[in-house]
Symmetry: C2
Subunit: 403 residues, 2 copies
Amino acid sequence: MPDPSSRRTFLAASAAAVSTAAFPWNTAAAEDSAAELISGKDERLIVLKPYPAVIETPLKLLTEHQLTPAELLFVRNNSQPKDAATISASTHRQWAISVGGAVSKTARIALNSLGSLPRTEYEMVLQCSGNGRSLFSFAAQTSGTQWGRGGMGNVKFGGVRLSAVLDHLGVEVRKSVRFVNAGGSDEPLPDKEDFLHSLPVEDVLNRSIIATTLNGKPLAAIHGGPARLITPGVFGTMQVKWLSELIFVAEESTNYNHVPRYRVPNSPIRPGTKYDFTLQNSAYNWDLKVKSVILNPNHGDALKAGENTIQGVAFNDGRVSISSVLLSFDKGQTWTRAELSQPESQYGWIRFSLKKKLSRGTHTIWSRAIDELGRTQPLDGSIAWNPRGYEWNGVEQIKVTVS
Amino acid sequence: MPDPSSRRTFLAASAAAVSTAAFPWNTAAAEDSAAELISGKDERLIVLKPYPAVIETPLKLLTEHQLTPAELLFVRNNSQPKDAATISASTHRQWAISVGGAVSKTARIALNSLGSLPRTEYEMVLQCSGNGRSLFSFAAQTSGTQWGRGGMGNVKFGGVRLSAVLDHLGVEVRKSVRFVNAGGSDEPLPDKEDFLHSLPVEDVLNRSIIATTLNGKPLAAIHGGPARLITPGVFGTMQVKWLSELIFVAEESTNYNHVPRYRVPNSPIRPGTKYDFTLQNSAYNWDLKVKSVILNPNHGDALKAGENTIQGVAFNDGRVSISSVLLSFDKGQTWTRAELSQPESQYGWIRFSLKKKLSRGTHTIWSRAIDELGRTQPLDGSIAWNPRGYEWNGVEQIKVTVS
């Protein structure tokens, strides 16, 4: 067995830059504060890109809350309506969503007509599929904004089940349908195709809601208000914002944002390999992969000798529970089970903590979540390297100094 | 988090019966020794069923050899040619395999004409998909022979790549083909359909060989000689013995032995649930699941206080390496990495060992393999419970007493 520790040490050391606010490769963004760019956002957030806004949350700010407040929640928009730069509600009061394709009749869903239908709330992890992308780059560079680990949050979305809305409208989906093309009313960037994803129809009809609230308040404009298609347990890119159309189809879309973007190869490839993404040789970013993230301490922190508490969160796609989070202080030779919080929701994250006596010197801390199906995080996350750097879920590895 | 230890203890205690030669639920078999049933087999093997032969290997006998000798190798036949009860070579010297279906021309593969083609050898795990089935039964009873853990071995198969044979014969496979129906010349039991499996054509053309040797000797008649279709990395049921026909097809077969037999549900179901298996709602037993098995000591063993060595083997489907095997002596609170042998082959098993000082009393020993993709064994293996008890890969859990 090759000993991964030397490479790991390098990776962990390099990750130092990631968990601080200084992103040398995003100097253009350093000028703007999140609070100036998006009305209502916390000024401590890390701006990776000003427009369309890409903003991540420093990990320690995620420690304090089970539900991530809107002012702390990360932002990742491919394109962004002009009036959306606020965590306040959207001002579009007559919003409607068109329904078409292989259905018994076309229809319009007027948001203000949904009041009579039962509402559903999901506490769930919202995570950009590019979250952690910068960690791949120590195996080989990936394209796209170099996210640290803070492109995630745990929130509560509320709305009405899409299946209930279709029933209410008398719209039946034909048997040939395998996907739903969900599109938003964001304006595409110049020369870019409109943002659209094909979502698997079975999951959508089982789980998806047309969400209109976030943490009990009207859904913030910057996060897709007034209406966002929310499916718990899946990556953020598939939670289409400013939802304006749903087209039921037999075949997956070839929209540029659905392929080659937001896809991972079907089988592992060597880091650095070019890959010509097709619908057949790759998968869209869908189910969240099992993951743990240490929120406190952060990589590079200086701690005091004695008992310290390691805190973090863990989650998966919600199909089964997280069964344990194991921590290692000796690069994987031995692992200790952390305390887990009671799950609040099958789709939300659980918090883990472990009290550990740390002596003076340098310590590495690794964390690894395992779920009931025996799915866990690879020790070397670059086994899942892909050209666009999606779905990072390597074992969390940080280094701290103790004095 | 529910503490699984009480249930686990029960499971481990119940497994005592499994790892000894006494199978109370197979009393009919207790009369025959493996050596009497199958000429050349070791008399220490455990006979689960005399005809067609189902015989497992006591785990300790697997400890001594990297390659499992033919006399120790488990046997599981659904039906069995009358002259096959021997580990000597088959006496059929004019054997041929017919090729048909969606191909450019039908053909016959005469084994004695293959001498000019390059030979390939695979060291690989051979494992019945029912191996470990009895462990499911402590969640809810499963049908089929109640295997302990010894329905597996690590052997070397040699032969000629099927793709090379087809090239040699000038047979081209049509683009519409998705499966190969592989059938053997075993005689079906009364009122049973002939044994046949549909194998995914891509894997078959990439990996499968027509095997004619086992550990360098002519392939034993009881193990499928003179010709067996061998695909490394997959369950034994798909390694069709006494291979006599290969039919290339667009659609998966509905042969009784392919569905509902030898299938697992697509998603976890509650133990005890009935399941109406179809091609759509289930998967055939194909890729081996990541697994570790403690070979020595065995469950129920009495050890001496002081340093003891825990030994076992670990494997997966060969797509990536096993990255670690972790052992726990405190029911999962802490885990220690075992020493691993150098891999001999991507498809073979690796051996693990850990020296551990054990004090007087009762000890539980758990083992868990993890591979580079982050695939591991579920702590509670019954999460994968299925009515026919296939593909058990729960965390290995045994109990020993130390005096």
